[in-house]
């Protein structure tokens, strides 16, 4: 089966001009390649200005690119064929404040050639029924975000491109939102979303892509990335009363704080031998915690902020 989205060696630079003044061009994307199959959910991570939104806008055909190839459902990005199959949620989604949620969705439904009467049902799916007949100008940020989500559900898109979809959503709505995505993915929709919230991305997506300074620096499942980063594991050893000095002597490589709490770091492969050494100390050890590298650690390992 051909992938829903294929990007190969995509490069994009923004001309560097501030008014009349010529400044250095911004290389927003450098030789980025990726594929996304139907029914898969991929999360795009990266620091501010890494190029996430730029990549999404290119996939949608909103901005041109310099070199490389992009194929969306077998069509050119932004072509009428691609546009009928792709739904987009921009970052900072906005609507005309004078329209009500229902009117706005009816309009979007008509533009996709769908029955406008589905508007209320779509709003119900994102929990906006009570506010449907109020003007969007009176909505809270999260409510506007939900209108944005509702419009992406119109007409079974084959590819969803969501730029920071959960920004502004409360924790319960976030969970509901990812449940919604699970349902869509199960029906074969490919989903590309960007996020700064690592924990939700960990549990609810199939694949992680990390952009840094316009380059795709890592790609894979979280387990892949964890293995590849091979970050050290931390062990916290609390000595039994009166044994602090003995513990420190046994592990000269560790660092000890004022309370005698000893911090050790080791590679994954060395973890079990180290544990064995600690347990050999017997009753000198009061407690032990093993702390695996956190998501943030793995993320920052890959996302070097070059040039920032």
């Amino acid at each position: 089966m051909t992938p829903t989205l294929t990007i190969s060696r995509l490069t994009k630079a923004f001309p560097g001009s501030a008014g009349r003044q010529r400044i250095q061009a911004v290389e927003a994307l450098k030789q980025v390649s990726l594929t996304l199959e139907a029914g898969k959910r991929a999360a795009l991570l990266g620091h501010n200005g890494a190029g996430k939104s730029t990549m999404m806008k290119i996939v949608l055909g909103l901005i041109p690119f310099d070199s490389g190839e992009v194929s969306v459902c077998g069509a050119h990005p932004g072509s009428p064929a691609a546009r009928t199959r792709v739904a987009y949620l921009p970052e900072n989604v906005a609507f005309h404040p004078a329209l009500t949620g229902e009117e706005q969705l009816r309009h979007y439904l008509s533009l996709r050639g769908e029955d406008p009467r589905q508007a209320m049902e779509l709003l119900a799916r994102v929990g906006l029924t009570p506010a449907a007949r109020r003007r969007i100008g009176t909505y809270s940020k999260g409510m506007r975000q939900r209108v944005g989500l509702a419009q992406t559900l119109i007409g079974r898109p084959r590819l969803l491109v969501l730029d920071e979809p959960t920004s502004g959503l409360d924790p319960v709505s976030r969970r509901d939102f990812y449940d919604l995505l699970d349902g869509l993915a199960a029906e074969g929709t490919a989903i590309l979303l960007s996020s700064h919230v690592l924990t939700e991305v960990e549990a609810r997506t199939d694949r992680i892509l990390i952009l840094s300074g316009g380059e795709l620096v890592a790609e894979g499942t979280l387990a892949d990335l964890r293995a590849r980063a091979a970050l050290p594991v931390s062990l916290l050893v609390r000595p039994a009363p009166g044994y602090a000095a003995r513990l420190a002597a046994a592990f000269p490589e560790g660092s000890q704080d004022g309370d005698g709490l000893l911090r050790l770091a080791c590679r994954q492969a060395e973890k079990l031998p180290l544990l064995a050494r600690i347990t050999m100390l017997g009753s000198a050890v009061a407690d032990l915690d093993v702390i695996p590298p956190s998501l943030e650690d793995i993320y920052s390992h890959f996302s070097r902020r070059d040039g920032q």
């Binding site: 949608l60 909103l62 546009r83 906005a94 004078a98 329209l99």
Partner: protein
């Protein structure tokens, strides 16, 4: 077609909520009634019915007011969407930029048509009320309404083009006012000055008709005055209207909207969200 209609319905609703419909209609009715009142003094026996006289003065009003209303409604069309941030999402929908502009045009034309019909209608009622024989002038009233819509279409298209080029509503508003001043006010002043210095020479006979046809507002004036055969009464620049065949001013009136909309679409295609 359904996408154009959907866009038009949405735009009309927005204009209704932004009070644009009431502002445009209110202005038209107010100015038309003032004109009708001013023109209701006995005119002596000029051999034309009262409605035709009213239409002649409404024409001079429309030359200023219709382009102004059209530009005021259109300058925000693209720049406003850019500023609000609604454009990127809209452009990912399976709707072409031409369809978007045509939808907006349809809504704005409907508003202009409504305002013109109500405004001129009010003035016509006053005229017919004081002179039942004025019903003869109904044809020229109808002509004034539809030619106003065409004139409006030209300036709506120009407004969309400016709105696309400016990228910011404040800039677009400035450009729109400048266009109005140049096309509607200064152009005629310049022509008048040239006529005066020329003193009935080659400019007045050769270049003036072309200059009048080249400006949509003047073409509108010339068309309505010559069609109503009220040329003699109009004087000034309108006096030159007699030299221009009706089909030429009609053609200018019809071609300008097409040119303006083509320009608008070309400018809108250049906008990257």
């Amino acid at each position: 077609m359904s996408r154009i209609l959907a866009t038009a319905v949405c735009e009309f609703r927005i204009a209704l909520r932004n009070r644009w419909v009431s502002i445009a209609t209110g202005m038209m009715v107010l100015f038309a009634l003032v004109l009708a009142a001013a023109g209701s003094a006995p005119t002596g026996d000029v051999g034309v019915d009262r409605l035709s006289v009213t239409v002649a003065s409404l024409t001079s009003l429309a030359v200023y007011l219709v382009p102004l209303l059209a530009l005021l409604m259109s300058f925000d069309a693209v720049a406003g969407e850019v500023e609000r941030g609604t454009l990127p999402l809209l452009l990912t929908y399976p709707v072409s930029r031409l369809q978007i502009l045509l939808g907006k045009l349809l809504a704005h034309l409907a508003i202009l048509g409504l305002a013109a019909a109500l405004g001129y209608g009010a003035a016509a009622l006053v005229a017919v009320g004081s002179d039942p024989g004025a019903l003869k002038g109904l044809a020229s009233l109808w002509r004034l309404i539809w030619s106003s819509v065409l004139l409006g279409a030209t300036f709506l298209g120009a407004g969309y083009a400016l709105s696309s080029m400016a990228k910011r509503p404040s800039g677009a508003a400035g450009l729109a006012i400048a266009l109005w001043l140049v096309a509607v006010v200064l152009y005629d002043l310049a022509l008048l000055a040239l006529i005066v210095t020329d003193g009935g020479g080659a400019f007045t006979t050769q270049a003036l008709p072309v200059a009048l046809l080249a400006n949509p507002a003047d073409a509108f004036r010339v068309f309505n005055l010559s069609a109503a055969e009220a040329v003699a009464a109009a004087g000034g620049i309108g006096g030159a209207a007699g030299a221009i065949p009706l089909w030429q001013s009609a053609a200018s009136l019809l071609l300008w909207p097409l040119a303006a909309i083509a320009l608008a679409v070309a400018a809108f295609r250049k906008v990257t969200p």
